[in-house]
């Protein structure tokens, strides 16, 4: 989906290694804006995207993105420099930067320590590291997740593409429904209390 560069962020050779030198240089230059990091495509920090983003490969965002982001079968990483103002649909989402919008993941959402997230998270597995800033709702119950994902996948960008390949099939891959068990919060008073 995105241009490939000569080296990834760690300096490892990537798929442009066999190109002529001039091409390698061009790829190296492009790596500052957009390219690849490891196995992910990268939107570099100088890039601003205003509009919908779709793809079938893993993606790392270090730039600014506004609009819907859809990587239904892939992983999305929002890097430390990344700022995403969008509803995001992906297989897994990891946030190190800032997001404003709902995050939908069929597998997992991870909010890392320096992240700032405003919006709802809908995913069967969610982890928020201590120190991360999060404001919104979290839905992890598989049955509820499936219910929400089942409706939202047709209300996002797919809705505008009605008649094209339906994403409803993707939601069938969400973790199987399980009965809700033990709903007691069982909160005890702070330690050191009477």
């Amino acid at each position: 989906m995105f241009e490939r560069n000569k080296k990834d962020d760690e300096g490892n050779e990537s798929q442009s290694a066999g190109r002529p030198d001039s091409d390698k240089n061009f790829g190296s230059f492009r790596s500052k804006a957009s390219g690849r990091s490891g196995d992910s495509a990268v939107i570099g920090r100088s890039i601003q995207i205003d509009g919908d983003l779709r793809g079938d490969e893993d993606l790392r965002i270090e730039g600014d993105v506004s609009g819907n982001v859809e990587l239904k079968n892939n992983a999305l990483t929002i890097g430390k420099e990344g700022k995403v103002k969008a509803d995001v649909y992906a297989k897994s989402i990891a946030v190190d930067g800032e997001t404003m919008g709902d995050l939908y993941a069929t597998e997992r959402v991870t909010v890392h320590v320096n992240a700032r997230v405003q919006g709802n998270i809908i995913s069967p597995k969610v982890s928020i590291e201590e120190g991360a800033r999060f404001k919104g709702s979290i839905e992890m119950d598989p049955a509820a997740v499936e219910k929400v994902l089942g409706t939202t996948t047709t209300s996002g960008a797919d809705k505008r593409n009605a008649g094209n390949k339906s994403s409803a099939t993707d939601t069938s891959k969400v973790a199987p429904k399980r009965p809700v068990k033990d709903s007691s919060a069982n909160l005890n008073p702070p330690s050191g209390t009477s």
């Binding site: 999060f134 919104g136 709903s183 005890n188």
Partner: protein
């Protein structure tokens, strides 16, 4: 809480991995406001009492995911950091989205005149106790709300029970009237 159905928990404090794990295991939907870290305490305290404050309070609540009503509100020690007007506006908004019989839990600094400058960050430990993970710092005067004052600041939530804790705090449970 009724263990035969899932619950919606509104946490006025910040997110924690341990709390999320605890509530997630129980199949709860968790709504997190994180009042301390998004400037919301100042927003509420500085809003003009009346419609502007009510609007500010309503805007703080997350968009509903499923339309399920709130069953449990975790206020922690945050009421100490809100004026009674601000608290009242917030809890009135919360009450509109809560189920009759919903419970609100709050901790008030009571025996000491001072309290930490910043709200605590309570996290459930492995033994089920709650541990304050906030860094120690300066102290400020505690409002030391009386039971009656606090009761007036909780919107439609009415006092169910209160008890003094060994750490100088008073623990309150409120219940939303029908």
């Amino acid at each position: 809480m009724d263990e035969t159905r899932r619950h919606v928990v509104l946490d006025l404090g910040g997110a924690s991995t341990a709390m999320l794990a605890l509530l997630g295991r129980s199949g709860c939907c968790v709504e997190i406001l994180d009042l301390p870290n998004f400037g919301s305490i100042d927003q509420l305290n500085m809003a003009e009492p009346g419609p502007a404050l009510a609007e500010t309070a309503a805007a703080l609540l997350p968009n509903r995911l499923t339309g399920d009503a709130i069953d449990l509100v975790l206020c922690w020690d945050l009421p100490n950091y809100l004026t009674l007007n601000a608290l009242s506006a917030l809890m009135t908004s919360v009450g509109r989205r809560a189920r009759p019989g919903a419970v609100a839990h709050a901790l008030i600094y009571y025996s000491e005149r001072d309290m930490p400058e910043h709200p605590a960050h309570f996290v459930p430990a492995a033994d089920g106790e709650l541990v304050d993970r906030s860094a120690p710092g300066a102290v400020i005067a505690a409002p030391r709300y009386s039971t009656e004052e606090l009761g007036n600041g909780m919107g439609r939530f009415v006092l169910d029970r209160a008890r003094l804790l060994g750490n100088g705090m008073q623990e309150f449970l409120f219940q939303l009237g029908s």
